[in-house]
């Protein structure tokens, strides 16, 4: 007996070829390229060196390096990553580790089994890219990567095909996978993550407001196109002057930096007065803080949130995923209750020994004006007269920053205006505080959403007037009315950097931008924001109002099963294209059988037609002609379309009688 030979299809039996290596290196470079921009340069260089080493080994047909060398490189890599990131268990360091391991895996890859493992690693690296961005562009690029990686997988199972054929097969497979993926995406029972503690750096790199403000904080944000949140209003949208989205309120000043200080909880009692009531929903981008942004003055609270004593809506948990909440706000409304003495006192504290000129000015005012209300009007009037310049590139300020801004440079950004105004009011003995948040937003006429970007971060002031409560004063708007009415782009001197998305553009560009943003918004809402709640909402909309995971699983399995059966049926049907001539002949035989002349299995067409012709003498000529035509079409050397059409016609019109 001959011993059973090695299984030629088993991947562990087949050695990796140069072509396989080309596929794998290409895929790895594809999926690692976005990471290369985030990791330190030496890591990219190390990965490239490892790839180059493997390619060199393959080209020169040398032996692969020994395990000990690879372990050495791995340990060195881990050490270097540990030193660079101070941990090897974080998100960024984990990805760095994967990049090194992918190179090392290539260097110990001998058979197709190892090569397939590298393919799986590539799939996993695609996933790691989504930790940083999940935009539409990323999705498109990563789908392309997916086609390439699947092409590599296909190439391993049929080594003799062209790469183009492999890519086509991969594309076809992925196209067939899309309906299954869509069903799984919609119906797979969602669990709200996270399942366990996240690495420390899981949410780093998110831009947004902070709970401190020092010169430069907001102007840094002002060049960011990143979206802070979107809002959809039921009914008419507010005017630009009403679009003050309240964020952290800053009380404590140390001469340079404003801070929020401790927050207290307060009852969300009725909001009184106000010009207009707005109902809207907000889709908030993750910003890693527990702040929910709402128009001033918030009159409702979303679930799992609370109201701080300074009127900010706070979420119980940090916002780490895009979330959607409904809000009601009353523009110009006031919440009842007098501010406590303690808070009033806190809102007049100034650090000693800073800004002597400002203090002197305020004290002069204090001598002539007794009333808080009058003091406020006087200060606003003074501000308006001073001809300040609003700029994103303010000159650097020294120790007495408010003095220098108010009396020397007179050029600044909203943080300078608000900070200076609050210092001025406090020096004059009027309780005041800085409010940060966003001002404005761009209305998209296509889907009705108002988009608020980080660049619209703003700081304004609130002054406590005994009879009226806290009154909003926007010193920037007072000095530069255009900032609020026509947006930032028109307020800053030309030549200042303005984010691309904020510029006033040509109409076509604007419409393209609106389309794109509407698409992005829908993507965010329905693809990226598809969570447990959205799933429930969607299922309720299609008629399954209380589907638990069992119903979901049943629906899921049924639908996927049906898709697979349909796919199988379609595939098998395409496998055999029945010969049209044969089909016509069988149809003809069926007609004769119905009339009582059945063809015996052994009977050839000529014998059968002769017998049938005897039986039906009045159509004998037709029967014999069909038989002859069938023979010539089926067994003849050339098949003419005209003859086929003739056969079709005569079979269709044939009536044995």
């Amino acid at each position: 007996m001959i011993a059973a030979a090695a299984h030629p299809l088993a991947p562990e039996q087949r050695a990796v070829t140069g072509r396989d290596l080309g596929w794998l290196c290409g895929c790895l470079v594809f999926v690692m390229a976005p990471h290369a921009m985030r990791v330190p340069w030496w890591l990219t260089a190390l990965s490239m060196c490892l790839f180059g080493w493997r390619v060199y080994v393959a080209m020169s047909q040398r032996r692969l390096p020994s395990v000990w060398i690879l372990v050495g490189v791995a340990l060195l890599g881990m050490l270097a990553i540990g030193l660079e990131y101070r941990t090897i268990f974080g998100r960024a360091s984990g990805i760095a580790l994967l990049m090194v391991l992918a190179g090392l895996k290539l260097l110990e890859m001998r058979t197709h089994r190892d090569a397939t493992m590298v393919v799986f690693l590539c799939y996993f690296l695609v996933l790691t890219n989504f930790l940083y961005t999940q935009s539409i562009q990323t999705a498109v690029i990563m789908f392309a990567a997916l086609v390439a990686i699947t092409g590599a997988l296909v190439s391993f199972s049929a080594p003799h095909r062209s790469s183009m054929a492999d890519l086509r097969t991969a594309g076809l497979l992925l196209v067939h996978a899309i309906p299954i993926a869509a069903v799984l995406f919609v119906l797979f029972p969602r669990v709200q993550g996270p399942l366990w503690g996240m690495p420390q750096d899981a949410y780093s790199g998110v831009t947004g407001l902070t709970d401190t403000m020092s010169p430069g904080t907001l102007s840094q944000l002002s060049v960011s196109d990143a979206i802070a949140f979107r809002a959809l209003f039921k009914g008419p949208a507010p005017s630009p002057r009403q679009l003050y989205w309240r964020g952290p309120v800053l009380w404590d000043y140390d001469g340079r930096t404003w801070r929020t200080g401790p927050r207290r909880w307060r009852t969300a009692d009725e909001v009184t007065g106000g010009e207009a009531r707005f109902e809207y929903s907000v889709v908030l981008e993750p910003h890693n803080r527990n702040w929910l942004f709402a128009l001033e003055t918030a009159a409702s609270l979303p679930p799992n949130s609370w109201l701080s004593n300074d009127g900010q809506v706070m979420s119980n948990a940090e916002i780490r995923n895009r979330m959607r909440y409904d809000m009601v706000s009353v523009a110009g409304g006031q919440r009842g209750g007098e501010e406590t003495q303690g808070s009033q006192a806190r809102a007049t504290i100034l650090p000693a020994g800073f800004n002597p000129r400002t203090l002197a000015l305020a004290q002069e005012w204090q001598r002539t004006i007794a009333d808080d209300d009058a003091m406020l009007r006087h200060a606003i009037a003074w501000l308006r007269d001073q001809r300040f310049v609003y700029t994103l590139l303010p000159p650097a300020l020294g120790r007495d920053s408010v003095d220098e801004f108010l009396f020397d440079t007179k050029r600044g950004f909203c943080e300078h205006f608000s900070s200076a105004f609050v210092v001025l009011m406090r020096a004059a003995g009027v309780p005041a505080r800085v409010v940060t948040g966003y001002q404005g937003g761009e209305f998209n006429p296509l889907d009705g959403y108002v988009t608020v970007r980080q660049a619209e971060a703003h700081a304004w002031a609130e002054v406590y007037v005994t009879a009226r409560g806290w009154v909003r004063v926007d010193p920037t708007a007072v000095s530069m009315p255009g900032r609020v009415d026509s947006g930032m782009a028109n307020s800053v001197p030309s030549g200042d950097p303005v984010p691309f998305m904020m510029r006033a553009d040509a109409a076509w560009l604007k419409s393209m931008r609106y389309n794109w943003e509407a698409l992005t918004n829908r993507w965010n809402l329905w693809v990226l924001g598809y969570n447990t709640d959205r799933q429930r909402e969607f299922l309720a909309r299609i008629g399954f109002s209380d589907a638990d995971w069992r119903n979901l699983a049943t629906m899921l399995l049924t639908t996927v099963g049906l898709i697979l059966v349909a796919l199988l049926a379609w595939s098998l049907k395409r496998l055999v294209r029945p010969d049209p001539v044969q089909q016509l002949w069988l149809a003809f035989c069926r007609k004769l059988a119905a009339a009582g002349v059945e063809r015996d299995p052994h009977e050839g067409p000529r014998d059968f037609t002769a017998r049938a012709a005897q039986r039906f003498p009045n159509v004998a000529a037709t029967i014999v002609a069909v038989g002859e035509r069938y023979i010539s079409l089926r067994y003849g050397a050339v098949r003419r379309d005209a003859e086929l059409a003739e056969l079709k016609k005569s079979v269709r019109e044939f009536r044995p009688a």
């Binding site: 197709h112 997916l146 995406f185 996270p194 990226l528 496998l575």
Partner: protein, 331 residues
Amino acid sequence: MAAQLTAGGTRRSRLGTWFYGRRTVEHGPITLGHRRVYIMPTRIGMMFAATLAIMLVGSINYVLSLGFMLTFLLAGLALAGMVHTVRNLARLVVVSGRAEPVFAGESAQFRLFVENPAPWVRPAVMVRHDASGAQTVDDIPASATADVILPVHAARRGWLDLGRVSLETRFPIGLFRAWSHVQPDFRCLVYPRPEKAPLPPSSPDASFGSRQAATQGTDDFSSLRTYQPADSPRHVAWKAVARTDDMLTKQFTGDASAELILDWALIPGALDLEAKLSRLTGWVLACEAAGLRYGLRMPGVNIPAAHGDMHRTACLTALALFEPAAAPAAG
């Protein structure tokens, strides 16, 4: 003929019989309908499932919607790949070709045709002979036929049934293995293993004067006659053919007198049946090579003396299929 199922006494093959059904030998072209294509994930497929599980947990933990999308797309890829793997094998048609007779100890070349009715290539289809492990991997071209030769060791004389053949593929993604078994009505004749032995000195009732003379006489060319289909190509006068374009056969002297009957009784009775048949086979080959006229006499078999390929085939077939039961205590 009896269906030669390989199902023996072992548990594994009994399980196989239960699973695949007691499929007997099939006649004519065998179409691999999708119902007889089996599919299971490979070890690589299992690892893929594990990778997907990790990716799913990662997506849940980091709340990555696109991570879910990717994981589900890959799950869909695996399921679609399963259908494509079945499709790569389904509706192939296996047709038996010809297997030339061989001598025991040689390897029988079973030629199968695998026909692909679909208008696209079926890449990487393995055809494997289950009992011997003989296998080939082939791409079967679109709407065409690939021929596959399975070399199977012929251990014993008689009919060698091909037995069960499996077709297997892992194309396109290698995560699944689809296979199907066929057992075509296909057998190869195995002649007894020839034994090199000197030709017998004489025969009791054969009237040949001098074997020695006859042997020499074969080399003496006497004349040419017109070729007849039964003539051995070795005796065709190729030089004459080249000159005249007529097929001519060389005739040798001493034909009539040098006649040898290879008789069962000439072999010592001490030898066992197979050894006897081996010796007779050796004699047949030697006679044919020497150009002698020879006959074969065995219990129940009597082939009169003749000469040529057809005669040789007839003798060897008789030897291959000789049934001792038909022989009433020979010797």
